[in-house]
Symmetry: C2
Subunit: 370 residues, 2 copies
């Protein structure tokens, strides 16, 4: 006999997943409909429309990829890159590097521009990259680098790329729903996110959006996408109604219920108040962490993810273990070059409340002081 | 304000998803843990172990792919095929054809053997295919063709392929948990399924298993897999404990809870009694459908999916619509060459009960008679 499933109720303040509110868990557990049921198609359409509101876009091709955030990254790249294409990727952490790996698997010649982890790019650095590789068809950059907590200002980049005829691809996994993200105003052509970060939904889907310009590139491909599962030329018939909602694959029905509820919560709160809440909670946490003598690693910190250096002589894993076992609080360790040297404290969606910040600080203080 | 989510409680008797029992929906809605939380890792390990029991295998590399069934197909193919490899695919419906498309995207030279839809392959036909293409590295075949309802006997094929040094890849989307499926005894090297069919779990994961022989092929690759998201050389560190449970991507935590519960239900019922229940319910449904004058399309019908021809003069879509709207019962229409000409009635997992079969027959009789 298999033991009962009794997961502890953790306060999730790591790099994701974030704490999922009961309202979303209840939506997740609603009765499963068929993926071609008109009632389900209605819920799916509403989900895509809510996603447009949160992405601040009118892009018709906006839908949840049936996989976690990294499936979203792959969806953007396998559809927009043809073998032999030249592309640029800006790397300042794990996820830029992952984009590079993924681009190479698509058969692209990749021009990577790397700066030290924790730093963000200036518009001049991006201008230079474009000038150095004018034949590139796309530039990829990470809005919110989950591995370092670095925030990347995206304004001005789209204009620069479009002048050169390049597409603008963005990783917004840790920013969507927590930081301002203006897909249309900033000229973003392709973007992906995850559900388990600032949307406070369980992991399992990746919201993506493609601009009309990106769709043109997809429609003018001379080779098939390397992925059948993520091939937008077929998926768009299911998600945007072309071709009579043709079946492609069975969508993760219940996860879509949960995402719809999560997006509804974002829209009910309002985008600006929500971004402001994340900013305020970041400031509250930051003051508290600095009072404890902890220093932020990135030059420009995200509000949603706070990456601090572990003080000399402190066993970082032991502290995380105590937080988990004694307080049911999860925070993250460092990733890549910061492994063993950093903590990553998430303030995403539901987790970004005054109560949680104060609880977190009190528990961390106790663990550091003991 | 977004309207409340109130999906109707349908009886799902189409080609999947099947009706999800409350016990599984409750597991789905359990509190979300982090994907590196030791408690979650424990649940994940149990899920993989239960999956081995249902696949009847000792393959260490057995895990749920973070996507729906077709992501499982893609996982098998992107990992086992290198560009230039020759492969064989047996096609008798939509899903064999889809495997071919997918194999081509992996850069393989594909030898397709096609027979009319609704038929199953004989061992002689497979022997001939192997003899015609002795240089092929793999043969792919569908155990349960969801588009036609055809059952494929898999015994003897593994031995035949292994004598020739070929790998044996199987689509078991509509059979796992409903039909006998002996991965080890039948010499299957790579297999994928879906959660939303005979396991009666919501869609969102694809159980897969790789034999040691398949793993050898993966480890001897000279090129990277075309997919980063589905790259087994990295995924195995997370799922089988190598490399200290290295983070790859964020697993769909709550979906894994649901799958664990679904597999527990299968194991509690017992594999043989469960297969026998599906056989009995198929016979009961078959007698009833034949009494209504309906004829089965495939030569060898699955127990889990019953594909019957729509009588002349009957509007197939109108009948399905009435079943849905008047009785809250979902059945499927025909796919591919059978579009508009067939109904597909699923008897999968929770849906395969006497009560449901009798309800289904009574409702269909009423719709046909009115």
């Amino acid at each position: 006999m298999v033991a009962a499933l009794l997961p502890r109720e953790r306060l999730l303040m790591g790099p994701g997943p974030s704490t999922v509110p009961n309202r979303i868990l209840r939506a997740l557990a609603a009765p499963t409909l068929g993926h071609l049921d008109p009632q389900y198609i209605g819920y799916m359409d509403e989900t895509c429309e809510l996603m447009r509101q949160v992405f601040q876009t009118t892009n018709q091709l906006t839908f949840p990829v049936s996989g976690t955030g990294m499936a979203g990254m792959e969806t953007i790249l396998v559809n927009l890159i043809e073998p032999g294409d030249e592309v640029i990727v800006m790397i300042n952490g794990v996820f830029g590097g992952r984009m590079k790996d993924n681009m190479e698997r698509c058969g692209a010649t990749v021009h990577a521009v790397e700066i030290p982890w924790g730093q963000s790019f200036t518009l001049d650095q991006i201008r230079q990259a474009v000038a150095d590789h004018p034949q590139a068809v796309m530039l990829g950059i990470v809005h919110a680098e989950t591995s370092t907590g670095a925030f990347q200002d995206l304004s001005g980049i789209g204009e620069l790329l479009h002048q050169q005829g390049m597409l603008f691809a963005v990783d917004a996994v840790t920013s969507m729903g927590g930081h301002d993200l203006q897909v249309d105003a900033w000229g973003i052509d392709a973007i992906y996110s995850g559900t388990q970060k600032c949307l406070s939904c369980p992991p399992g889907l990746s919201p993506v959006s493609f601009s009309p310009l990106a769709l043109e590139k997809i429609e003018s491909r001379t080779t098939k996408s390397r992925s059948w599962y993520l091939d937008v030329s077929m998926l768009k018939n299911y998600y945007t109604g072309g071709g009579g909602r043709a079946y492609h694959h069975t969508a993760p029905i219940n996860m879509v219920y949960a995402l719809r509820e999560a997006l509804a919560i974002v829209v009910e709160e309002g985008l600006q108040p929500r971004f402001e809440r994340h900013r305020e909670m970041h400031q509250l946490l930051r003051s508290g962490l600095e009072e404890l003598g902890l220093e932020y690693i990135p030059d420009h910190s995200l509000h949603t993810l706070n990456c601090v250096a572990v003080p000399d002589g402190v066993d970082e894993a032991a502290i995380r273990k105590r937080l988990l076992n004694e307080f049911d609080i999860e925070i993250g360790g460092g990733l890549g070059v910061f492994a063993g040297k950093a903590w990553r404290i998430g303030l995403m969606g539901e987790s970004a409340s005054e109560k949680n910040v104060l609880t977190m600080l009190a528990a961390l203080k106790k663990c550091l002081g003991d």
